[in-house]
């Protein structure tokens, strides 16, 4: 995304949502007409544990400025334990990205249930603001993918 002097920086954010809770939560936000920025683009996955760190890096490579991963609340996973594995994997991955000096606010995990449309919208608003503050992703981008 481009920073334009007279136009506010608009980050590109990829949101991975599990089919059973968070994707349904996003649907509920829609049903209730709860606004959140169009910067958010949702990718549906069966469970948050389907999200490979590779996908997150790929998103950053291709120009995403933030990646958020949403799943069922711990204990509520449709597949019983998927989000527990997600939690460990993402904790370690985010810690590693932080260790490499990548801004920690570019990544996030949130638990959003199918009933939490309001939380989904609020989370997305908040996350978009946080990423906006950071500006464009420069530390983990692939120069060849930078948009002109």
């Amino acid at each position: 995304m481009q920073v334009n002097e007279n136009k506010e920086f608009q980050p590109l954010i990829v949101a991975f949502c599990c089919n059973w809770c968070s994707y349904a939560g996003a649907d509920l936000a829609g049903t209730n007409r709860l606004n959140y920025p169009d910067n958010i683009k949702i990718i549906r996955v069966p469970c948050s544990c389907r999200v490979n760190p590779m996908f997150i890096l790929r998103a950053f490579q291709r120009g995403a400025d933030g990646v958020i991963l949403c799943g069922c609340h711990p204990g509520d996973c449709h597949y019983t334990s998927g989000n527990y594995f997600t939690r460990r994997r993402m904790t370690l991955l985010f810690s590693m990205l932080d260790f490499l000096g990548i801004e920690r606010d570019r990544t996030r995990v949130e638990w959003v249930s199918a009933a939490e449309g309001a939380k989904f919208a609020a989370t997305m608003n908040e996350f978009t603001e946080a990423v906006k503050k950071l500006g464009p992703n420069r530390r983990l981008e692939d120069l060849r993918c930078r948009k002109q």
Binding site: R33, N35, D38, I43, P46, F55, S81
Partner: protein
């Protein structure tokens, strides 16, 4: 070459008011591989679906993208439409431009731009979609019921009545469970034995039911429709097929000082015993820990008196293996141990008893032949104090956080029965709340108060002190009178909390089913699937799922039976095709995927591979059972080599979506 059709829905004005649907259709029409791109008022309508179907036929489409509402709403609609037009249903993708676009954005330009991006992601994904076929797996027409209490018996009877074979596995020598120990049942006060024992007999005589008493489940393998269960038949040292249940051995057995579990230890039984008169199967069992013959090799009286020649001191535990299509868990409950409640003096004073013990003390078949006597001195108690919620509703380490649900009612029952039979006995009930939500339950409780003059006192007993004169000092608060009471009681009855049977947790591990922190089995959905576990083919019956009274248990038992029958009537079950699969050439056989699979769907086989140098190498590789896999994808990330992938949500598909979104 892909031939993809894009269909953009207006959803009336739901989408069209905020998203320029024409522009979306036009933009997506320019995407590679898209040969037709249309918009329509209502895609999900009959004519909308026909539009899709006709386009599939006319343009020989290889993939369909519908830009419409959430896939959770109409994915199946469009998949079915595609299937009816001859396109594999899994070649359909939905771009959610309503819930996740038009409904949340106001600006037409940016909403349209986003809708196009979402559409492009779906097009990119559908390029990589593979036709999937739902597999089928056969169903073994036999059910296993674990637990032979009223829940297990009812479930087994119902399944048998539908014409399927059922096996009951019961760890005790007889079926009947806790209900067999109960005297009367609320709210009708009919005798438990009178309504239970006919069912026990019915179960034993039903040609479809096999009872494995004194047996345990040792191992469970397999999956819905095809479980292989190993049952351990514990040695009872009596040949079940020969024993007639005459009981002569139990009379002649010289070892008669064994505490009788059935009567809660209030009297004794012999080392060879039949738990109670109506036991099913009515077969004697030798308790090897107390049998002289087993311990010292000297005795053999039972063997001598048994005319059927059924005694076999050399009998050993036996393992039998059986296939089942469905498993119903009915492991029931136990009252909690009260060791941690010193204030109630349960371990100190024999006249402080639990409610289940009181059942036996009052039972006509109990130790006192139905006369209520104090266990300590066998005198008639004139003042009895009941304490509610002992260990229930606790937030501490001693008790359970839940309400045990049945105590309010059985205490009212006990109080009423005592007042009925012994009008000279005063009965006090200390309660926190009286919870009677059930048909005729509150009326029952009110009868105890109004008709039988049971003293219900709102407050809790703080301390129970046995006195040297044989009385028991009960110190309690009366919250409504705002005073502290001291009652000289003759007996104290504690309504101990109930907890799941100790065998439940190891069983849950074997069955790969979920449990909550209290060890109750978790239902697949608390409202809509209350008798199924989250693991397909495993159903829940009775108190193993949560505290329940008899009517509720029976209702759930029949519901679980119905669910099991629904499964058993099928010859085969259709599996979700969106399952994981492993690329054997890349698999390391490292077991990471197996460790994270919640369903035990992954096993390993040693497979021969022809190597480039023409040698043959044997490698351990993962193999996914598509009937068991539910498609979560946990294994795909655990796999370091990327050998494991998920149908419908493959690595390349998700990456294509990421790329399309980030373009």
């Amino acid at each position: 070459m892909q031939r993809i059709g894009v269909f953009v829905c207006h959803c009336g004005t739901n989408i069209a008011a905020t998203v320029d649907v024409k522009a979306v259709a036009e933009a997506l029409g320019r995407e590679p591989g898209v040969i037709v791109s249309q918009d329509y008022q209502y895609m999900c309508s009959e004519s909308g679906q026909n539009l899709v179907k006709n386009a599939i036929k006319e343009h020989k489409l290889t993939g369909v993208v519908v830009c419409s509402c959430s896939p959770r709403m109409h994915e199946n609609t469009f998949r079915n439409a595609a299937a009816s037009a001859g396109l594999n249903p899994y070649l359909v993708e939905i771009a959610n431009i309503r819930e996740q676009c038009s409904w949340i954005h106001k600006d037409i330009a940016s909403a349209t731009e986003k809708a196009i991006i979402l559409g492009k992601a779906a097009v990119a994904k559908v390029h990589l979609n593979a036709p999937l076929t739902a597999g089928e797996s056969p169903v073994v027409k036999r059910a296993l019921v674990i637990g032979g209490g009223i829940a297990g018996i009812q479930t087994a009877l119902d399944i048998a009545e539908a014409g399927f074979d059922v096996d009951i596995v019961e760890k005790k020598p007889t079926i009947g469970g806790k209900m067999a120990q109960i005297d009367k049942t609320f709210p009708t006060l009919d005798c438990a034995a009178c309504i239970l024992t006919p069912k026990m007999v019915e179960a034993s005589q039903n040609e479809h039911i096999t009872i494995h008493s004194y047996s345990e489940v040792a191992d469970v393998k397999g999956f819905v429709g095809n479980f292989t269960v190993t049952i351990k038949k514990k040695a009872r040292f009596v040949d079940e097929t020969k024993c007639t249940g005459c009981g002569l051995c139990t009379e002649k057995c010289p070892m008669k000082k064994v505490p009788n579990e059935f009567n809660m230890g209030f009297d004794n039984r012999s080392a060879i015993y039949i738990p109670f008169a109506q036991a099913v199967p009515k077969v004697a069992t030798i308790d090897p820990n107390n049998c002289m013959m087993m311990k010292t090799g000297k005795c053999g009286v039972c063997s001598k008196v048994c005319s059927a020649g059924a005694i076999d001191y050399k009998q050993e535990d036996r393992l039998i293996e059986q296939q089942y299509g469905a498993i119903v868990v009915a492991t029931g409950f136990e009252p909690i141990k009260l060791d941690k409640y010193d204030e109630f003096a349960y371990n100190q004073c024999p006249d402080v008893v639990t409610s289940l013990e009181l059942e036996r003390l009052m039972n006509a078949a109990g130790p006192n032949g139905g006369t209520l006597l104090r266990p300590s001195d066998k005198t008639h108690p004139h003042k009895i104090v009941f304490v509610q919620c002992v260990g229930s509703r606790c937030d501490d380490s001693k008790g359970k956080p839940y309400c045990s649900k049945i105590c309010c009612m059985y205490t009212a029952k006990h109080a009423m029965l005592i007042r009925e039979k012994y009008p000279d006995t005063e009965v006090y009930v200390f309660y926190i709340d009286v919870r009677t939500p059930g048909k005729n339950f509150d009326e029952f409780y009110r009868r105890a108060v109004e008709q039988y003059n049971v003293h219900y006192i709102k407050g809790m007993v703080g301390k129970v002190t046995p006195r040297s004169d044989g009385k028991i000092d009960v110190q309690a608060s009366d919250l409504l009178a705002n005073e502290q009471l001291h009652i000289d009681a003759d007996m104290v009855v504690l309504a101990a909390a109930i907890e799941p049977d100790k065998t439940a947790r190891p069983l849950a591990t074997m069955l790969t089913t979920q449990m909550d922190t209290n060890d109750f089995f978790t239902e697949a959905h608390p409202k809509l699937r209350p008798v199924e576990s989250a693991t397909a083919g495993i159903f829940l019956s009775g108190a193993c799922q949560g505290p329940k009274d008899i009517p509720e248990t029976v209702a759930q038992a029949s519901a679980a039976a119905a669910k099991a029958i629904v499964l058993l009537v099928k010859n085969s079950i259709t599996c979700n095709p969106c399952v994981a699969h492993s690329d054997e050439l890349m698999c390391n056989g490292c077991s990471s995927c197996e460790k994270v699979c919640p369903y035990g769907a992954i096993t390993y086989i040693d497979k021969e591979f022809k190597m480039p140098d023409r040698t043959i190498a044997v490698r351990r590789v993962a193999s996914v059972n598509p009937a068991v896999c539910q498609g979560c994808g946990a294994c795909t990330v655990a796999c370091p080599s990327g050998a494991m992938d998920l149908n419908g949500f493959s690595n390349s598909q998700i990456i294509a979506e990421v790329d399309a979104i980030c373009k």
